[in-house]
């Protein structure tokens, strides 16, 4: 097309995909192959030396996966992306590219529990030290900055839901500290929120959730905003020092504003190995084609359900930023004009026992640990994902004994509400 900039729905269907050069296949083929033949020895050398674009081996890159990468980059408004095996793998590669042993990063303490575990335990064994800050108190981020700080990490809409992060304010802290701001945009998706427009430098996704959207594939994506000047600070040697693995190439000099995505691929994915399977990439791509339609419906349904719950006598309170009067309502108006997403929590007057009963009583909702499925999902964190924590720790994590988390699907809103209504009636 000409220099007209396509809209979100058009990009969701077309970005990154083109008819197959050899067969003319219009849907993106599943290139289910480990390896790709070289034209000749010189071509192989050029590929391995990063001197030309092309495919070598599916651990490093694959033409089905690369369509997903370009598509998510386009939807987020980034310069490039990297598809990996899971959201956790995405975080692993991002921090591997930025941090050296002994470095620190600041993370919001309101995160997906799996990320809290990864940062507290797995990353500490690498010498990457997390410093926790409170997203409701921006000064706690400023106070956490030290000369060892290399990055700031937050979720846009934070799990277990209902929390909206003030990205512009946290971006200002990152810029002052001279470090990149990493935003996990899994719960919002680029349909509701594009963090690069509010100061993010790197966006990551668990594509397992709304991007794939059908609860059938684990995957992750790293998106490079192309906004951070790696050379200015000189504190990120993977990007600014000659790389012995590649004959002394300097990645930022060579790849400019998509150097971070390249570094995650050629220094992270290549050597640590969490590659995304082409089949999963295909399923996630197919899901993305309807991302805008689905997320709007998810979000519209969630608002209906949140309104219903907020008026139910068995419910002590609802944490959904789309509800007027919610503590995050104003931030949601600023950052999420199309809707506040589909994942939120509510509190039962009946406490722990009521939570356990509710997940047993539902018949449409599925009791499981995922979010962002077409199906409506329910979990009682205190008896499952957060079971090992003390009551105080549970409450701090937003997972007190009376808390239930919902991920609202795209069934008919009336049926979702009817299921909760009958399940609450049995408490």
């Amino acid at each position: 097309m000409s220099d007209h900039t396509p809209g979100f729905s058009t990009l969701a269907i077309h970005a990154g995909a083109q008819p197959d050069p050899t067969t003319g296949a219009r849907a993106t083929p599943i290139y289910q192959t480990t390896s790709f033949v070289f034209d000749d020895v010189d071509h192989a050398a050029a590929l391995f030396g990063l001197q030309t674009f092309g495919n070598i081996y599916t651990r490093i890159g694959n033409p089905t996966v690369s369509v997903l990468e370009e598509r998510v980059a386009a939807l987020e408004g980034g310069t490039a992306a990297l598809g990996v095996a899971s959201g956790h793998a995405a975080q692993h590669l991002v921090f591997h590219t930025l941090l050296e042993p002994g470095d620190e990063f600041i993370a919001s303490r309101k995160l997906y529990g799996g990320s809290i575990n990864q940062f507290n335990h797995a990353f500490k064994s690498y010498g990457w030290n997390v410093v926790w800050a409170d997203p409701d108190d921006i000064s706690s981020f400023e106070a956490a900055v030290t000369p060892k700080t290399k990055a700031i990490f937050v979720e846009s809409i934070a799990n277990p839901g209902g929390i909206v992060t003030d990205l512009k304010a946290i971006s200002a802290v990152a810029k002052k500290a001279g470090v990149p701001l990493i935003v996990d945009n899994t719960l919002a998706t680029p349909y509701l929120w594009r963090p690069f427009e509010h100061g993010a430098d790197i966006v990551i996704h668990s594509a397992t959730k709304f991007l794939g959207g059908h609860g059938n594939s684990i995957g992750g994506v790293i998106v490079d905003g192309g906004t951070f000047d790696w050379t200015a600070s000189g504190r990120y040697p993977f990007l600014t020092k000659p790389r012995p693995e590649y004959q002394g190439i300097v990645l930022h000099e060579t790849f400019g504003n998509f150097a971070f995505a390249i570094a995650c691929r050629v220094l992270g994915l290549r050597d640590l190995g969490p590659a995304l399977s082409p089949f999963n990439a295909f399923l996630i791509l197919t899901g993305i084609e309807t991302l805008g339609l689905r997320v709007q419906k998810h979000s519209d349904n969630a608002l209906e359900v949140a309104k219903f719950l907020s008026q139910h006598p068995a419910v002590a309170g609802v944490n959904y930023a789309g509800l007027p009067g919610d503590r995050y309502y104003d931030l949601a108006k600023t950052y999420l004009p199309k809707g506040a997403g589909a994942v939120f929590t509510f509190r039962l007057k009946g406490g722990y026992e009521a939570g356990v009963s509710l997940v047993s009583n539902v018949e449409l909702f599925s009791h499981l640990a995922n979010i962002g499925d077409t199906r409506s999902l329910i979990i009682h964190p205190a008896s499952t994902t957060h079971r090992q924590l003390s009551d105080e720790q549970k409450t701090l994590a937003g997972a007190g004994p009376e808390v239930v988390r919902l991920s609202i699907g795209i069934e008919d809103a009336a049926d979702i509400i009817a299921d909760l209504d009958q399940a609450l009636a049995k408490l």
Binding site: D3, L11, G16, Q18, T52
Partner: protein, 178 residues
């Protein structure tokens, strides 16, 4: 001419029209961008002439290297400049002294000199600044998507393979009228 933003059609017309390219500042070091831009463009069918006084008479990426633009024995369509911005005026003056005149002055990523650009444009040349022809070719052909880079293009037309290689694409697409 707006040098902060270039229309894809402008870049595509340049890369489709030029056949011969002089690379001023080409390096013999295989880790330098100026080396593999030279190599990449040659592999995409352009006739490429490295220019580097220190390497004159030797080969860079298998191509005979010249000391100056005027030493190149055939007409040059495009002069691609791999020199710091302050050295651009001299290169443009050298280019404008050629006969026949080149059609295009191209300055690499991070290289920009608006005064020299105006001078070249006044002489009828097209100018591109702060861009890489390798990235632009790969973006417009579709090759760059293999690396997960946002090409900022979409097309329902089938890309065409270039030459005998399996992993090289043309700037043209099936069904396009030339």
């Amino acid at each position: 001419m707006d040098h902060d933003h270039y229309a894809d059609a402008y870049i595509r017309s340049i890369l489709s029209e030029v056949k011969t390219i002089a690379i001023v500042g080409a390096s013999a070091n295989a880790a330098r961008p100026s080396f593999f831009v030279t190599k990449y463009l040659a592999e995409r069918g352009f006739k490429v002439f490295p220019v580097n006084p220190g390497q004159a008479g030797k080969e860079i990426a298998g191509l005979l290297t010249y000391a100056t633009l005027k030493d190149i024995p055939e007409p040059i369509d495009m002069v691609d400049i791999f020199r710091a911005s302050e050295h651009v005026p001299q290169v443009v003056d050298d280019a404008l002294a050629l006969s026949p005149l080149p059609k295009v002055i191209w300055m690499q990523l991070t290289v920009r000199n608006d005064e020299a650009a105006s001078k070249a444009e006044a002489a009828g040349l097209k100018v591109v600044m702060n861009r890489c022809p390798k990235i632009e070719y790969a973006r417009l052909s579709g090759e760059i998507g293999w690396t997960g880079v946002n090409s900022r293009t979409i097309s329902s037309k089938r890309p065409l393979r270039l030459g005998q290689g399996v992993q090289r694409l043309s700037l043209d697409r099936s069904g396009w009228k030339k």
